[in-house]
Amino acid sequence: MDQLNQREQQQFQKIVEQKQMKDFMRLYSNLVERCFADCVNDFTSDKLTSREQTCVLKCSEKFLKHSERVGQRFQEQNAAMSQQLNR
């Protein structure tokens, strides 16, 4: 990345920001899909039962914490790998 000059870095920064938005949307959609798949199984009504509601809350909370922890470890491993590659 350090090979990009200043103008190129600015251009690249704009691309990064667009991708972050998409990434966030993807995380959100994944979360909805996963918690729906894991928590909702009763189709005798068109409203969530209170049990399903609780499950969705815990599921999304847990998924965010999961995603956060994996992100931390990912960055550590990635940094370690980059160092090995560069020397």
């Binding site: 667009q18 972050q20 938005m21 998409k22 990434d23 966030f24 949307m25 995380l27 959100y28 959609s29 979360l31 909805v32 899909e33 918690c35 729906f36 798949a37 928590c39 909702v40 199984n41 189709f43 005798t44 009504s45 068109d46 409203k47 969530l48 399903e52 509601q53 969705v56 809350l57 999304s60 909370e61 965010l64 914490k65 995603s67 956060e68 992100g71 931390q72 990912f74 960055q75 990635n78």
Partner: protein, 92 residues
């Protein structure tokens, strides 16, 4: 949807406005595609393609499935706002 910044300040460029509209369209399309997949998994009996028509039960299940998916969507959105976006910073 307001959280995409669409319809913001008048100084926004054409490109940015169109990009926001495109992002919103992608979001809606993506949600629809996931809905099709997920409600198929929940409601359609895959081992039984004797009939090409949807059965009464399948149709009813699909209607409720879509409603519940939207409800989960709202619930997850509220929950994410409550929890803050601390995780966002930790992503690569």
């Amino acid at each position: 949807m307001s959280f995409l910044g669409l319809g913001g300040a008048p100084t926004v460029t054409s490109d940015a406005k169109i990009q926001a509209a495109e992002a919103e369209l992608d979001l809606v399309t993506d949600m629809f595609n996931r809905l099709v997949d997920n409600c198929h998994n929940k409601c359609i009996n895959k081992s039984n393609y004797a009939e090409g028509d949807l059965s009464k039960n399948e149709s009813l299940c699909l209607d409720r499935c879509v409603a519940k998916y939207f409800e989960v969507n709202v619930k997850v959105g509220e929950n994410m706002q409550k929890m803050g976006q601390s995780f966002a910073a930790s992503r690569p």
